[in-house]
Symmetry: C2
Subunit: 237 residues, 2 copies
DNA sequence: GTATGTTTTGAACACATGTTTTAATAAATA
DNA sequence: TATTTATTAAAACATGTGTTCAAAACATAC
C-alpha cells in the first residue's frame, strides 16, 4: 500500500527514467506530458504513478540519477584532469570539461543535465518533493551546481590570491561560468534560426568549434582574472 | 467580424497588457493562465480573446510593446551614453545600461524584458504568430536582442581591431553578454534560497551591488578583450 | 427615446493533463 | 497445482485551461 517498487533494476522503471530524461531535457518538465513519456518508453500511462507516485516523483528521480551518474563523475573528471597542474591549467581543464559537456550533444548525460539546469533556472519547480520540505531546484542546486561552482571558486581564489568566498573571487567565478553557459545557450538558441542570422551563424557555437570555444574562454578568462588580481594592489580602498 | 479593437488606448486593453507583462515576466508564458491575467487586470476572461484573438496574440503584443518601449530606448541610451567617448568607456556604458536594466527591478520594463528573454530562451514558443510564418521568439530575437548584440560586436571590433562579424569579435561579445546574463540570472536564482547558500549570499548579486558588478564585469572584460587582441599577433595561423 | 455599435459578462464547450481505479495478466511462492 | 504478489492495461475521474457564444450593459449619434 504505502510502499512501491524502489531503486532496483525494474526494466520499465529504467526505461521511464530514460525517456523522461530525454524529453524533459529537451522541453522542460512542464511541457512534457506523462502520456508522451510513457509512449516513448513503451509503457502504460499508469506506470509513472505506479513507479514514482507522481510526475514530480519521476522528475525528482530523473535529477537524482542524472546527478549521480554525471555530475559527480564530471566533477571527478575535472579534478582528475587538473591534478598536479598549475592553476592556469586547472582552469583550462575546468572550462574544457564544462564546455564539452554542455555543447557536445554526444556526451548525452552532461548535455541533458545542462539543459535541465537551463529549464529549471528560468522556471524553477516550486512544489516541494514528497516527504521533504525542499524543492527539486534546491536539491539539484545544492547537490549538482554548487559543488562545481565552489571548486571553481577555490581555483580562482588560488589564481588571484583571495579566499574562495571573497566577493572578488565569486565575481570572477561567475564571469567564467557565465561564459560557458552563454556559449551553450547560444548554440541552442541559434538552432531555431536557419541557416544563420544576420551573418553570424550557428556554426560559431556548434560542436565542431568546441576546441576554439575552449581556447577563447580560457584566454579571455585568464586575462580577466589576472586583471582583477592586479587591481588588488592598484586600487585604494 | 474579422477586425477587432486595435492599438488604440482602450483602457482595459492596456491593463491586460500590463498585467500580462508582469505575470509572464515572472512565471513565463505557459505558466500564467488567462484567468490569472484577467483577474489581475480586473477584466473578464473573454476580454483577452476579444482584444487579442488568443493568448498567443496577447503574448505577441506584450513583446511588441515591451520592445518598442524599452529595447529601442535602452539601445538609444547605450549609444547616447557612449557618444564621443573612447571604446573602453563605450563598453563600460554598455555594461552599465545592460546590468542596470537586468538586475535593478526598479527599472521595471528592462527587468521584465530580461526575464521574458530568459524564459523564451530556455523554452521558446514554437507556435507561429497568426498571419505570420515566424515565431514570437524569432521576432523578439531579431528585433530586440540581435541589434543590441550587433552594437556590442561593433564596439568590441573597434577594441580588438577586427571586423564586427569576425569569429574573435563575436566570441568576445558573447563572453561579455554572457557575464551580464549570468549575474542577472544568479540574482534570480539565489532568491529561492534564504538567506544564503554555503556562505555566499544573495546580496553579492543584488541591486545594492550594481555598481560593483558593473566595475567587475568591465575590468574583467576589458582585460579579456585586450588579451584576445594581443593574441592576434602572437598566434600563427 | 430609439437605434446602432462597442464593450462586458457569465456560462458553456472542448480538450489536454495528472491521477485513480479496477480488472486482467504474468511471476513467484507455498 | 493453488495462492499470493507484482506488473500491466484500459477506462474513467477530476481539474485546469484556452476558447466561444449569446445576452446584457454601456455609450453614442440621430
Amino acid at each position: 500500500m504505502d510502499t512501491f517498487p524502489s531503486n532496483n533494476d525494474h526494466e520499465t522503471r529504467q526505461r521511464l527514467i530514460l525517456a523522461a530524461t530525454r524529453l524533459m531535457a529537451e522541453h522542460g518538465f512542464r511541457r512534457v506530458s506523462i502520456r508522451e513519456i510513457c509512449k516513448e518508453a513503451g509503457a502504460n500511462v499508469a506506470a509513472v504513478n505506479y513507479y514514482f507516485r507522481s510526475k514530480l516523483g519521476l522528475y525528482a528521480e530523473v535529477w537524482k540519477s542524472l546527478i549521480e551518474a554525471t555530475m559527480e563523475q564530471t566533477h571527478a573528471t575535472v579534478v582528475e584532469e587538473g591534478k598536479g597542474k598549475s592553476p592556469e591549467e586547472k582552469l583550462r581543464a575546468y572550462i574544457r570539461v564544462q564546455l564539452q559537456a554542455l555543447v557536445n550533444e554526444g556526451d548525452q548525460r552532461g548535455f541533458w543535465l545542462g539543459r535541465l539546469v537551463a529549464h529549471e533556472t528560468s522556471e524553477p519547480t516550486l512544489e516541494p518533493i514528497e516527504g521533504s520540505d525542499r524543492t527539486i531546484w534546491q536539491m539539484a542546486f545544492e547537490r549538482g551546481i554548487l559543488p562545481k561552482f565552489l571548486y571553481l571558486c577555490e581555483l580562482v581564489g588560488e589564481l588571484i590570491g583571495c579566499p574562495a568566498n571573497d566577493a572578488k573571487t565569486i565575481y570572477c567565478a561567475a564571469s567564467i561560468q557565465g561564459q560557458c553557459l552563454m556559449f551553450a545557450q547560444a548554440k541552442e538558441t541559434l538552432k531555431h534560426f536557419n541557416p544563420n542570422v544576420a551573418g553570424f551563424g550557428y556554426s560559431f557555437f556548434s560542436a565542431e568549434n568546441t576546441e576554439r570555444l575552449i581556447a577563447h574562454v580560457t584566454e579571455f578568462s585568464l586575462a580577466g582574472v589576472r586583471a582583477v588580481a592586479a587591481q588588488q594592489v592598484e586600487i585604494h580602498s
